[in-house]
C-alpha cells in the first residue's frame, strides 16, 4: 500500500516584480524546490526550517490552498488542490496567525456553523463537542464572542474548531505561538493524546522544544529544499555535535594563568570571564573522567556540568552548513 502522504517533486515559484530605474523587472522566487517525502499514517511529523524557508508554502499546498507550479502530492488518496472539496472533509488545520472562527460570533455558534459546513451528524457532533469542550476547558468562555477571548482561550477554541468533524489528519502551523507556559503545556499534551488515538499530525513550529517533546519524525527545509528527513535521534547522531563540558571558576581565581590557557587551547574551549565560565567541547574520542581529573587539578572549580546538544544546536548547525 502506498503511504498516507506522498509528495513528489513539488515546486512552487512566485513571480515578484522589482522596481528598477526605468521599468520594473520580473523575478522568480523558488519558494519550494523539488521536495519529496512520504509520511505514514499515524505519524507525528515535525516540519522545521528558518523563516522564509518554504514551510508555510508546503503546508498550503498540502492543504489545497495553493496550487503548486509543478509536482505531485497525494494525501489519503486525494490530490489536495485538485479534489479540494472532497479532500478537506477529512482535514483539520490551524494557522496560528489566522483565526478560522467567526470574529463576532460566540464560540458555540461558530461550532454550529462548522457542523453545518461539514455536515456532521447530530449524535457524532454532540459527542465530539462534549469531548472537546471538556478536554480543552472551553466551558468558561463557551458563550463569549471570539473577539473577546484571550490568546490562550482562542487557540483552544481554534483547536476544537479544527476537530469538530473528527478529521484523520491535522496540519498545524505554529499552534503554540504566543502561548504562556501553562497553556502551551496543555496544548502539547492534548496533541500527543490525539496522535496516540491514531491521528496523523503535521506540525510546523519555531519552537524546537515542541518538536523535541512531540515528534518522532522530522523534516527540515531550508531555502526551499528538503535537507533532512528522519528521526530526531538519528539527526543528532548525524550532526555529531560534541557534548559540552561547562565549569564555573571560584570567585578568587577567575584570572587564567599560562598553563590554564594552554589547556583551554588543547580542548578548543573558550573562557567567558564575565560569568567565570569555561566551555570545553567533549568529543566521543575523549574520556570525560580523564578530562575532569585534569581540570580539577588545575582549576579552582565551583560548579561543573556536562550538556547534551539540544535540538536547537543541532538545527542551528544544519542551517549553517
Amino acid at each position: 500500500m502506498s503511504d498516507y502522504i506522498e509528495v513528489k517533486k513539488l515546486c512552487k515559484t512566485y513571480t515578484v516584480y522589482k522596481r528598477k530605474k526605468l521599468r520594473r523587472e520580473k523575478r522568480l522566487i523558488e519558494a519550494v524546490k523539488d521536495v519529496n517525502f512520504n509520511v505514514k499514517r499515524g505519524e507525528f511529523l515535525g516540519y522545521i526550517g528558518p523563516n522564509g524557508a518554504g514551510k508555510s508554502t508546503t503546508i498550503k499546498m498540502l492543504t489545497g490552498i495553493l496550487t503548486p507550479t509543478s509536482g505531485e502530492a497525494s494525501v489519503a488518496g486525494y490530490c489536495p488542490w485538485k479534489h479540494r472539496k472532497a479532500y478537506v472533509r477529512n482535514l483539520g488545520a490551524i494557522f496560528g496567525q489566522k483565526t478560522q472562527l467567526w470574529w463576532d460570533l460566540p464560540v458555540k455558534d461558530s461550532y454550529a456553523v462548522l457542523k453545518a459546513m461539514y455536515k456532521v451528524p447530530d449524535g457524532k457532533f454532540r459527542n465530539q463537542l462534549n469531548y472537546l469542550v471538556e478536554r480543552l476547558e472551553i466551558t468558561e468562555f463557551y458563550s463569549q464572542p471570539v473577539r473577546q477571548l484571550s490568546l490562550g482561550q482562542r487557540m483552544r477554541a481554534e483547536l476544537a474548531a479544527s476537530l469538530i468533524h473528527d478529521p484523520e489528519i491535522l496540519f498545524l502551523d505554529e499552534p503554540t505561538i504566543g502561548l504562556d507556559v501553562v497553556s502551551k503545556h496543555g496544548v502539547l499534551k492534548f496533541l500527543r493524546e490525539l496522535n496516540e488515538n491514531g491521528k496523523t499530525i503535521f506540525l510546523t513550529t519555531h519552537d524546537l522544544n515542541d518538536i523535541e517533546t512531540l515528534c518522532k519524525e522530522i523534516l527540515i527545509i531550508n531555502h526551499g529544499k528538503l535537507i533532512y528527513k528522519g528521526t530526531l535521534s538519528d539527526l543528532k547522531k548525524m550532526a555529531g555535535l560534541p557534548r559540552l563540558l561547562k565549569i564555573r571558576l571560584k570567585e578568587d581565581s577567575f584570572r587564567l594563568n599560562e598553563e590554564q590557557k594552554n589547556i583551554l587551547d588543547d580542548y578548543s574551549g573558550y573562557y567567558n570571564e564575565e560569568n567565570r565560565e569555561i566551555t570545553l567541547k567533549l568529543f566521543d574520542s575523549q574520556n570525560p573522567a580523564e578530562l575532569a581529573k585534569i581540570l580539577f587539578q588545575k582549576f579552582h572549580i565551583e560548579d561543573f556540568k556536562i550538556q547534551e546538544p539540544g535540538i536547537e544546536e543541532v538545527v542551528k548547525d544544519i542551517y549553517r552548513n
Partner: protein, 258 residues
C-alpha cells in the same frame, strides 16, 4: 442550505444583541441612501421629466437598481469587502472548508442593516408606480422579479470585480469605478448618456439591462420583448463568466506570508 441557515441565525443573533442599535442601523442606512435620491428628486422636480421619462418612471428605475443592490449587500457584504480577505490571507481558511468559496465569502456575515436600503427602494418604487400610473398586481409581480434579477446581476458584476483581486490582491479602485459609478449611472434613463456610456452600461458593466431596458418596455417606450428580458439575457452571459473567472482566480491565489 444547512450552512446558510446556521450562519443566518448566528448573524441575526449577534447583530440583534443590542436591539436599539440594530433598528437604528437599519433606519439610518435606508435614510442615507434615500437622501442621495432626494437630491435628484429636487433637481428633477424643476424639469418634470428627463429625456422623455417622467418622475415616476425614473423612480422605478432607481428602485430596481437600488433594491437589487440592497439584497446583494444583505447577503454579499463579504464579497463586497473581498479585498480584506486576500490582503489578510483569511481567504486561506475558506479553502480548507468543504463548501464553495463563493458561498463562504458571501455568507461571511449578513448585514441586516441593508434591510433599510431594500425598504426605502421598494418605498420609492411603489410611489413611483403610483405616480406613473403603472400600479397593478401584475406589474408588482414583474417588479419583484426584476429586483431579484437585478440583485443577481449586481452579484455577477461584483464577483468578476472581486475575482480580479486574486491577481492584483487589491481591487478597491476598480470596485469603486465599475461597481459604484456604474450603479449610480444606471439610476438614470440610459438615453441621456453619450453612445460610449450606453455601450458600457449595456455590454460591459450591464447595469442598464437590469432596469432601464425592462422599464422602457413596461412603460410602453418600446415594443421589443428583448428589452423586457434583457436582464435574463445578460445573466446568461455574465453568471457563468463570473464563476469561471472566480475559479481561475482561485487557482491563481497566492496567499500571504505568515
Amino acid at each position: 442550505m444547512e450552512t446558510f441557515k446556521a450562519l443566518f441565525i448566528a448573524s441575526l443573533k449577534s447583530q440583534t444583541e443590542y436591539r436599539f442599535n440594530f433598528i437604528m442601523d437599519i433606519i439610518l442606512s435606508g435614510l442615507a441612501i434615500f437622501s442621495d435620491f432626494m437630491i435628484t428628486l429636487v433637481i428633477l422636480s424643476n424639469f418634470k421629466d428627463m429625456a422623455g421619462w417622467n418622475l415616476g418612471e425614473i423612480a422605478l428605475i432607481y428602485s430596481i437598481i437600488e433594491g437589487g443592490w440592497g439584497i446583494f449587500r444583505l447577503f454579499g457584504e463579504g464579497l463586497h469587502r473581498f479585498q480584506e480577505l486576500t490582503l489578510s490571507g483569511r481567504f486561506d481558511v475558506m479553502l480548507i472548508r468543504p463548501v464553495s468559496t463563493v458561498k463562504q465569502v458571501m455568507l461571511q456575515k449578513f448585514q441586516f442593516r441593508r434591510l433599510g436600503v431594500i425598504g426605502q427602494a421598494v418605498g420609492v418604487g411603489i410611489i413611483g408606480a403610483l405616480y406613473a400610473d403603472m400600479a397593478s398586481p401584475g406589474f408588482f409581480v414583474v417588479y419583484c422579479i426584476l429586483i431579484v434579477l437585478s440583485a443577481m446581476l449586481i452579484f455577477s458584476v461584483n464577483l468578476i470585480l472581486s475575482a480580479i483581486a486574486f491577481w492584483t490582491i487589491r481591487n478597491e479602485d476598480i470596485l469603486v469605478l465599475a461597481s459604484y459609478s456604474m450603479r449610480t449611472a444606471a439610476y438614470y434613463p440610459l438615453n441621456i448618456y453619450a453612445d460610449f456610456v450606453k455601450i458600457v452600461l449595456t455590454f460591459i458593466v450591464p447595469m442598464a439591462t437590469a432596469a432601464y431596458y425592462p422599464m422602457s418596455y413596461l412603460s410602453g417606450k418600446t415594443d421589443s420583448i428583448f428589452a423586457l428580458i434583457a436582464p435574463i439575457l445578460s445573466l446568461i452571459v455574465f453568471m457563468p463568466l463570473s464563476f469561471w473567472l472566480w475559479k481561475q482566480g482561485e487557482k491563481h491565489y497566492s496567499s500571504t506570508g505568515s
